[in-house]
């Protein structure tokens, strides 16, 4: 997939390319505002207006999604590509019962008879670890806990056995124990339904645990993509290195809070991104060229792609 996009005059994500193989989990990491969520919404062609996708291709099962009309696209959403959101508290309609919200999807996408739909939902609820489905289905979102709501959201996303699941920070708003449960659940269900997954997160721990491959995003571009194990063990891009350095680790001792390494500076404004490599103002290895030339992705080793002039990228004037 490849989709540069543009929000108004601001190019929010640019030159973002990633692929997800069948049954693979791609972790999309980066700090806030780096375009992770926007990239995943773009896959569904639901970038929030006035943003729009100006150019690029989103290829899903051999089809460029950007060429589909809106009815075809709507038929795809929730059926072949589904999404789980960051905040389960807000992603369910507060005034519809859980049952109503789950049945509506089946009503839209598959013309299942009521009885069969009901059984199907009950089965999925069981799979996401919700017991007593009939009672739950009659409840309203505000009667459920956060973890429970997220389970419902996951069930809702998987109801039509999608080929691709987009999970946008699915555990950020949950506490740590529930977080672990939900991650386990996602992993199990992904295997069971043979679903591919794009996992958007800023949590390196989550990514290390879940992802087969990782794409690191910085300021609206992908700076490094690679096999999860390789990338985490030997990151190439200076940003990825800095990001991993700044993670608190149990096997290191820190004298004070301050001695935890941080990345100096702040993420650049997308309205006025730095020329050349977008990371150069904060990069410890930046040289004169980095200020002028924009690095093109280069493949090193098996599928390890990095965009950095210091790692052998071609530079183009941009």
């Amino acid at each position: 997939m490849d989709f540069p996009s543009r929000a108004g005059a601001v190019r929010a994500i640019d030159d973002v390319a990633f692929t997800v193989g069948r049954q693979e989990t791609l972790g999309l990491v980066g700090e806030s505002g780096s375009g992770k969520t926007l990239s995943s919404l773009a896959v569904l062609r639901l970038v929030p207006p006035p943003a729009r996708i100006v150019a690029g291709r989103i290829v899903f099962e051999g089809q460029d999604l950007l060429t589909l009309n809106s009815a075809q696209m709507a038929a795809l959403r929730g059926r072949r590509i589904a999404m789980v959101f960051q905040n389960p508290a807000y992603s369910l309609n507060p005034i519809l019962s859980i049952g109503a919200q789950l049945t509506e999807i089946l009503a839209w996408h598959e013309k299942l008879p009521r009885r069969a739909a009901h059984d199907h939902i009950a089965e999925l609820l069981r799979l996401v670890g919700i017991t007593d489905a009939p009672a739950r289905l009659r409840q309203f979102p505000h009667e459920l806990s956060g973890g429970m709501k997220q389970r419902i959201c996951i069930a809702r996303a998987l109801l039509c056995h999608p080929a691709l699941l987009l999970a946008d920070e699915p555990t950020t708003n949950l506490d740590v124990t529930i977080q672990a449960q939900i991650l386990d659940l996602l992993q199990q269900l992904k295997d069971r339904f043979a679903t591919s997954m794009i996992l958007v997160t800023h949590d390196m721990g989550v990514v290390a645990r879940m992802a087969d491959r990782i794409s690191v995003m910085y300021a609206g571009t992908v700076c490094e993509t690679g096999n999860a194990a390789t990338l985490l063990r030997s990151p190439l891009h200076p940003y990825t290195r800095a990001l991993l350095e700044s993670m608190p680790r149990a096997d290191r001792s820190y004298q004070t809070v301050r001695s935890l390494p941080v990345i100096p500076g702040r993420i650049p404004s997308l309205a006025d991104p730095p020329a050349g490599c977008r990371f150069h103002p904060r990069c410890p290895e930046a040289e004169a060229d980095c200020r002028k030339l924009r690095p093109m992705p280069v493949t090193l080793g098996s599928g390890h792609v990095v965009s950095c002039l210091k790692r052998g990228s071609q530079g183009v004037l941009a």
Binding site: L44, L46, P48, P49, A74, A75, L76, R77, G78, R79, A82, M83, F85, N87, Y90, S91, L92, N93, P94, I95, L96, S97, E104, I105, W108, H109, A135, R138, Q139, F140, H142, E143, C153, R156, A157, L166
Partner: protein, 315 residues
């Protein structure tokens, strides 16, 4: 809502948690009943509705019975035969006041029904579509907002009476009252449109709406299943307030002598009798109180509803 036996719903006294938690409507209802002002409003409105329905049965006289003239005379003070006395034309005041209730409700509900349909449609389109449509519809709304409604209504009602002569419309019962209702509706929608627009603007960006879109909801489902029902509580509150003011507006129009002479309305009773206020205050007092209590009832109800549906007061 289905599948729960009726007995289970009516268990407010038992403090035990129900196996199935109450829905939002039910919760709102519970809060409304616990809210004193709201409950009072509800009682007043229910009373008026009951009177409107039962008027022909409970009224002691026929509405156009002027036989009191024979024994008691016009402007007779309250007595056992005429509890609220008789008015200037020899009508029984109690009877006329009871028969005024259906008129008032018809005006209030009819006008607000028209206003709600127009207002919610305009506001929803403006808020949901945004951009140029929003701009256009909101400027139109403001145009309606700045028109001096009363003068327009008075003029139109007067003209209308002349214009329809000779057309099929002439045969319509209570023609002038119908005109007043339609006009009040046609000019009463801007506040609803503004509110509906605000609600649609807010809700179309709500995460659950976004989520619904992501799982394949079409525009129709988004609007009618996800946005509109969530906007409804605040719209209902403003509509309830509007009913009160529509009733008041009709009373004012009638009081100015522009009402429908064929109907029995409180405003009209005031109009016919205010000149004898010193001699027969009861003839004015009864319809006046009726207007006051009805409008108060709708306002209190609106107040109670806004509290009852406010999610921040949930516990």
């Amino acid at each position: 809502m289905s599948g729960v036996p009726a007995g289970q719903i009516a268990v407010p006294t038992a403090r035990r948690r129900l196996p199935r938690g109450p829905g939002n409507l039910r919760q709102g209802w519970d809060r409304l009943r616990r809210n004193r002002t709201g409950f009072l409003g509800l009682c007043l409105v229910t009373l008026v509705v009951l009177i409107a329905i039962l008027a022909p049965m409970i009224a002691p006289y026929a509405p156009n019975d002027q036989s009191a003239m024979l024994h008691f005379g016009a402007q007779a003070p309250p007595s056992a035969a005429h509890w609220f006395g008789t008015d200037r034309s020899g009508y029984d005041v109690l009877t006329r006041t009871l028969y005024g209730a259906p008129t008032a409700l018809l005006v209030g509900l009819g006008a607000m029904l028209i206003a709600a349909v127009i207002g919610v449609t305009v506001g929803a389109l403006a808020g949901y579509l945004g951009g140029f449509a929003d701009e256009l519809l909101m400027r139109a709304t403001e145009f309606f907002l700045v028109i001096p409604v009363f003068i327009v209504i008075l003029a139109v009602v007067r003209l209308f009476g002349v214009v329809v002569i000779g057309t099929p419309l002439e045969g319509l019962p209570f023609l002038k009252l119908d005109a007043i209702i339609v006009l009040l509706g046609l000019f009463g929608w801007p506040p609803l449109a503004r509110l509906a627009r605000a609600e649609f603007l807010r809700l179309k960006q709500a995460e659950f709406v976004e989520a619904a879109r992501c799982i394949g909801a079409r525009r129709r489902d988004i609007v009618f299943r996800h946005i509109l029902p969530n906007a409804l509580p605040s719209l209902v509150v403003v509509t309830a307030l509007g009913i009160g003011s529509a009733i008041l507006a009709e009373a004012m129009i009638s009081f100015l002598g522009f009402g429908d002479p064929k109907t029995i309305s409180w405003g009209q009773s005031l109009y016919f009798n205010y000149q004898v206020l010193r001699v027969a205050p009861w003839a004015v007092l009864a319809p006046g109180m009726a207007i006051f209590l009805t409008v108060l009832g709708f306002n209190l109800l609106a107040d109670g509803l806004s509290d009852a549906f406010n999610p921040r007061l949930k516990q």
